[in-house]
């Protein structure tokens, strides 16, 4: 039987911090490069970043020919899941770490207020990413 007074909440946030840390480490650089820098560096044409190109991207059009007929349905899911992972992982990782920066500059005195704000913000942002990403057909 489990001990009755074990605190299970902080380990959960450390777990999300760690999982988010891996998501950010593995996936964020390539995404920032393509989403923010590639057009400015003249590596991709305007057509891929303007409204139509962005919509095609989130519909998963670039992936469809690679996935073929049997896996084509995955094409529409991949960009959306990717966005939710990036935003959710980034927020649960980053806000947890940022919380300790704030503790470090003296806000450890207001833990009880700060912690719910940070994790609430991370949860709200993740839900927003989920709703926004999957609102596209």
């Amino acid at each position: 039987m489990a001990a009755p007074n074990v605190d299970r909440v902080p380990p959960m946030f450390w777990g999300l911090f760690s999982a988010g840390g891996f998501v950010v480490a593995f996936l964020l650089p390539v995404f920032i490069f393509m989403n923010s820098l590639a057009y400015g560096l003249h590596l991709v044409p305007w057509g891929t970043v303007e409204y139509g190109g962005a919509l095609a991207w989130i519909h998963g059009d670039p992936a469809r020919p690679l996935l073929g007929a049997s896996l084509g349905w995955l094409g529409g899911w991949l960009p959306k899941l990717f966005l939710v992972l990036i935003v959710g992982g980034g927020l649960f990782h980053g806000l947890h770490r940022f919380k300790y920066i704030l503790y470090d500059v003296g806000l450890h005195k207001v833990k009880k207020v700060l912690d719910p704000i940070m994790y609430g913000l991370a949860a709200a942002g993740t839900v927003a990413a989920l709703l926004l990403a999957f609102s596209f057909p």
Partner: protein, 134 residues
Amino acid sequence: MATETLRKPYVRHRSAWWWTKNPRYVLFQFREMSSVFVVLYAFLVLWQLWALRGGPDAYYDFLAMWYSRPMMVLNAVVFAFAILHSITWFALTAKVPLFRIKGRPPPGALVVGANLAIWVALSLLVLKLLYGGF
């Protein structure tokens, strides 16, 4: 209060710039500060999605801002911090052995090397699957 003492409590003084004294502390502080940029980028992406949902006009307004000179500079800074996060995260992973080889934790270089290989492979996979090529 029951815990009241006669002596004034000792409060250790620490300057807000303590981390500038040693290059190791500077790297530590930059590593921790990468989180601010990761969070910032997550919110920028939410803004981008919101603009994309708003239709062509809203998205063209967003793009004019996104590819303005100050924003390009900010995005380059965010990118640099993302790279710093990746590298320091892999180094940190090596300090927390998740498995053992013949009863010993795996050598740090092996863990960092494996992480770097996964990083490259996943980045190429994203380029291939989400962006249709290299």
